[in-house]
C-alpha cells in the first residue's frame, strides 16, 4: 500500500471533531467518493473522533490517501494515550456504552467502512484504523 498524501490533526476539544469531519469530507470529495460513501466515511470519522475525545481523553487522527494496485482509498488512524478498553469484545457490541452515547460508535462505524482495525492496551491507549476504498 502506497501513501500519496497525509496529514495529522489534533482532537483535544469538541470543535476539533467538527474540523475532522470537514477535513474527511474534503479528502473524500478529492478522492471522488460517491455521496453515500462520503457520508459514511464522515459519519464514521465523527464517531471515532468523539471516542478519542471522550474516552481516550484526547488524541490525534492521521489522514492518509492510500493506493493499492488500481484501488484508491482513504485511511484514518485515531490514536489516544487514554485508559484503553478493558473489554474490547463488549465495546464492539451494539448498544454497549460506558459513556453518554448510545453505544453505536465503535460497532456502527465498523459497518460504515471497508476495513476496521483496533488495537488497545489498558493504561496505554487505543488506536483505531479505518479504510474506505473508492
Amino acid at each position: 500500500m502506497v501513501v500519496t498524501k497525509d496529514d495529522t490533526m489534533e482532537i483535544r476539544v469538541s470543535d476539533h471533531v467538527v474540523l475532522v469531519r470537514q477535513a474527511v469530507r474534503k479528502w473524500s470529495i478529492e478522492l471522488g467518493f460517491s455521496l453515500v460513501d462520503q457520508t459514511k466515511m464522515i459519519t464514521a470519522a465523527s464517531e471515532l473522533a468523539r471516542n478519542t475525545l471522550d474516552y481516550g481523553k484526547g488524541g490525534t487522527v492521521r489522514l492518509e490517501r492510500v493506493e493499492e494496485g488500481m484501488k484508491k482509498g482513504l485511511r484514518l488512524t485515531f490514536e489516544d494515550q487514554g485508559p484503553g478498553i478493558p473489554d474490547l469484545e463488549k465495546a464492539l457490541t451494539d448498544g454497549y456504552t460506558t459513556g453518554r452515547g448510545m453505544g453505536m460508535g465503535l460497532s456502527g462505524s465498523k459497518r460504515l467502512v471497508n476495513e476496521f482495525d483496533i488495537a488497545t492496551k489498558v493504561g496505554e491507549g487505543t488506536r483505531v484504523t479505518i479504510t474506505r476504498w473508492k
Binding site: S14, D15, V17, V18, R21, Q22, R25, L35, V36, Q38, T39, K40, I42, T43, S46, E47, R50, D94, G101, M102, M104, G105, S107, G108, S109, R111, L112
Partner: protein, 132 residues
C-alpha cells in the same frame, strides 16, 4: 454563547439546523427546545435537517431525546428534509430513530403537525361532550 435559533410560529416551534454542530451546540439546542415547548405551551416542533450532510449517533440521540421530551410535554416532533445519503448511513450505523416522525420537506412536515393538532382538538371536544 453560540446557539441554533428557534422560531415560534403560532402553536409550533421551528428549527432549521444550518451549521455543522459540535456536541455542546447539540446539547444546548435540546435544552433550549425543551424549555421553549414548556414556556410557550407549543404543540408541535419541526426540525429541518436538510442542510446536514451527516447525522451521527450523538445528533441521532439528540433528535430522539427531543421527540421523547416533547411527547411528555404534550407536543409532537417532526424531523424533515433528511438527505437520502444521511438516511442510508444512519440505518447502517444502527440508528433507526424509532418513535420519531419524519416528513420529506418542511411543507409536508407542517401538514403533519397541523393534522395532529386538529386531531387533538377534536379529541378534546369529544372528551368535553362525554363529561357534559
Amino acid at each position: 454563547m453560540e446557539r441554533i435559533p428557534i422560531l415560534k410560529m403560532g402553536d409550533f416551534l421551528i428549527v432549521t439546523i444550518q451549521v455543522d454542530m459540535h456536541d455542546r451546540l447539540v446539547t444546548t439546542l435540546q435544552d433550549d427546545l425543551t424549555s421553549m415547548i414548556s414556556s410557550h405551551g407549543s404543540h408541535g416542533v419541526l426540525i429541518d435537517i436538510s442542510s446536514l450532510d451527516m447525522v451521527d449517533s450523538f445528533i441521532g440521540r439528540m433528535i430522539g431525546n427531543i421527540a421523547g421530551m416533547s411527547r411528555v410535554l404534550d407536543a409532537e416532533t417532526v424531523v424533515v428534509g433528511m438527505r437520502p445519503a444521511v438516511a442510508i448511513t444512519l440505518v447502517e450505523l444502527g440508528l433507526s430513530l424509532d418513535g420519531v416522525r419524519t416528513a420529506l420537506d418542511v411543507e409536508k412536515g407542517m401538514i403533519l403537525l397541523r393534522a395532529s393538532t386538529r386531531r387533538r382538538l377534536t379529541e378534546e371536544d369529544e372528551d368535553g361532550r362525554d363529561e357534559g
